[in-house]
C-alpha cells in the first residue's frame, strides 16, 4: 500500500520541505543552518481514516559546512481533513552534526553583553547581503521559520523563509535570549508572501523554542 513517488514531482517535494523545516527547528540555531540538497527517495502511504504518510530519504547540508553530507530519513503524516492540525513529523539523522558549541557560546556572550537591545531589519537586504554580525540572527530566524513551516503546512502548500523583515531583542531576567521577529514567508502555490510574528527563545544548551507565533492579520496594501 506504499506507493513509490518520483522525487522531482511536487507532492514529495512538499513533504520534504516540511521534514526539513521540522529538523531546522530542532537542530538549527545561530551556528547551524540546515538545507535540503537532494530528496533521494519518497514513498506515500494512504492510511484509512488517518491521512497520508510520506516516507522520505533526504540529503541535507549545513550552510556553514557544505562539504559534509547529512543523511536523513523522515516520515511526514498529514492528517486527513484537518486544516488546523500540524503534520506529524519524525526525522532520524545519521551520524553527527558538526558541533556549534563554541560559536553558540560566543554568540550568547556577545548578545548578553550588549548594552542596547539589538534591533535590525531587512535581513538579507534587497541585494541579498547579510552583514557578518547579523548572520547568526539570520540563521536563528531560519530555525524559527522551521517551526512555523512545520506547524502550518499541508499537502497544498510549500513554504520558504523569504526575508527577515524585522527583529528586536527583548532582554530577559532568566538565562534565555529572546528575539521577536517579523518573518516574511513565501508560499509557493499561492505565491503569497506572508508576514509572521514569531517570538524565539534561545539558549546554547537548550536550543531554540517558539513560545508564541502569529500570522500578521490583514493583507499588505497593493
Amino acid at each position: 500500500r506504499a506507493m513509490e513517488l518520483p522525487p522531482s514531482h511536487f507532492p514529495a517535494g512538499r513533504a520534504a520541505a516540511v521534514a526539513v523545516g521540522y529538523l531546522r527547528y530542532l537542530r538549527g540555531g545561530p551556528g547551524r543552518g540546515l538545507e535540503l540538497r537532494t530528496l533521494r527517495r519518497a514513498r506515500r502511504q494512504d492510511i484509512d481514516d488517518v491521512g497520508h504518510k510520506y516516507c522520505l530519504e533526504l540529503e541535507l547540508e549545513d550552510v556553514l559546512d557544505k562539504g559534509r553530507t547529512v543523511h536523513c530519513t523522515a516520515e511526514v503524516l498529514y492528517h486527513l481533513g484537518s486544516k488546523s492540525t500540524a503534520p506529524d513529523v519524525q526525522v532520524t539523522v545519521q551520524g553527527e552534526l558538526r558541533s556549534t558549541e563554541e560559536a553558540d557560546q560566543q554568540f550568547y556572550n556577545r548578545i548578553r553583553s550588549l548594552e542596547k537591545e539589538l534591533v535590525a531589519e531587512n535581513i538579507p537586504d534587497s541585494h541579498g547581503n547579510v552583514p557578518p554580525e547579523l548572520e547568526p540572527i539570520h540563521l536563528l530566524a531560519w530555525a524559527a521559520s522551521g517551526y512555523v513551516i512545520w506547524q502550518n503546512s499541508t499537502e497544498n502548500t510549500k513554504f520558504h523563509l523569504a526575508q527577515v523583515k524585522h527583529v528586536k531583542q527583548v532582554k530577559r531576567s532568566d538565562e534565555d535570549l529572546q528575539f521577536d521577529y517579523v518573518l516574511l514567508l513565501h508560499e509557493m502555490v499561492s505565491q503569497e508572501v506572508i508576514p509572521w510574528e514569531v517570538t524565539v527563545l534561545w539558549h546554547p544548551r537548550r536550543g531554540a523554542r517558539v513560545p508564541r507565533d502569529r500570522r500578521q492579520p490583514g493583507l499588505a496594501p497593493g
Partner: protein, 384 residues
Amino acid sequence: DQVLHIVPETFQQVQDLHLLCSNLMLDLWKPLLPEDIRAGEDLHIRVPAPLVQEVKDSLDQHMISYRVLIPDVQKLVDQSMPMERSSHRQVSGGYVYTEYHPMEEIYQWMTQIQNNNSELVTQHFLGKTFENRTMYYLQISQPSNKPKKIIWMDCGIHAREWISPAFCQWFVKEILQNYKSDPKIRRFLQNLDLYVLPVLNIDGYIYSWEEDRLWRKNRSPYENGTCYGTDLNRNFNSSWGSVGVSFNCSSDIFCGSGPESEPETRAVAQFIESKKSDILCYLTIHSYGQFILTPYGSTTKPPSNNEELMQVAKEAAAALTGKYGTSYKVGSTALILYSNSGSSRDWVHMIGIPFSYTFELRDTGTHGFILPADQIQPTCEETM
C-alpha cells in the same frame, strides 16, 4: 582546478574511485589516503584544470554522481590574499554585470549595447506598460540574405525575481563579447536571430526596487484603486482562469479581468503572434527553484512533442550541471510545481511554437528571491 565532492554508494564505486585517484594521481583533500575512501562517506578531490573534463566523463561512465564543491580553486586562493582585486568581469563601458541594476540603468545599458554593437544589435519598441513606460527588446541579428528563425527570451515577468533580468543582461553581453572569438556563437547567429526582452514587467520591477522587494505582479489598479497588480504569468490566453489562479485582486496569482487584460501581456502576445511562424523557441526566465519547465501547467496531459521537448531540456540541464554541479529538475509545471493556467509559456506552445520553456533559476529556497549578487556570475555562467 576544481574540487569535486562525491559520496560513493557501493563498494564497486569505491574501487573505481580508488583506481581513478591512483592512476591520475589526483590530490585527495578528504580522506587523505585512497585506501580510506569508503562507501557512504564524503570524498573531496582536487582535480587539475586540464583533467577536469576527463575525470567528469569517467565519473559519468561509472555512474558516480558528483557535485562541484569549489569551481575555481585559484579564485578562492586569490580572494583569500589581502591584495587589491582587479575589477575583472567588467565589460565595455564599465557596466557591472555582477550587480543588480535599477530600471533606469537597464534602459541606459540597452542604448549603450546598441551603440557599441550596431552591426549586430537593434533596439525595438514592443509596447507600453500600464504606467506608460516603454518596453524595448533587443534584436541580435547577423545581417544576411536568408530569412532566419527566431529564438525569443524574456526576463523579469515577475518583479521580485531580480536574477532573471540580470541573466538577460549577462546573456546579451556574453553573446556580443564572444561573437568574434567563438565559432559556436557565430554559427548560431548565422542561422538564428535572438530577440531578448530584458525586463517584461517594468512597472513591477521598479516597484520592487522602491517600495516592496517581494512584489510579483504588475501595477495596474483594480477595485477603484484599492488593489493593485495582475500576475502577468496567469494573464495569457492559455486556459485562462481555469486553475491555479485567483479572481481576487489582492492575491499574488490574480489573473486579471480577462485574458490579455494587461498592456504588458498584450505587447508580448501581439508581437509573438505576428512572428509566430518564424519563432523556433520561446524561453521565459524566472526564479527560484532550479527547474526547466515544459508545457503544460493547466493539465498533466503531455504536449504533442513532449518527447522532443523533454530530451532537449534534459540535455540542457545536464550541460548546466556540468558547470558547477547545480542540479536542475526537468518536467512539466503541472507535475513538478503546481497547476496553473494563463502562463506565457503554455500560450506560446498552444499557438504552435514547438519549443517553449520556463527556466526557474537559482536557488531552491535558501535565499529564494533575494539571491545575493555574488551568485549572479555563477548562475549566469552555468545557465549560458
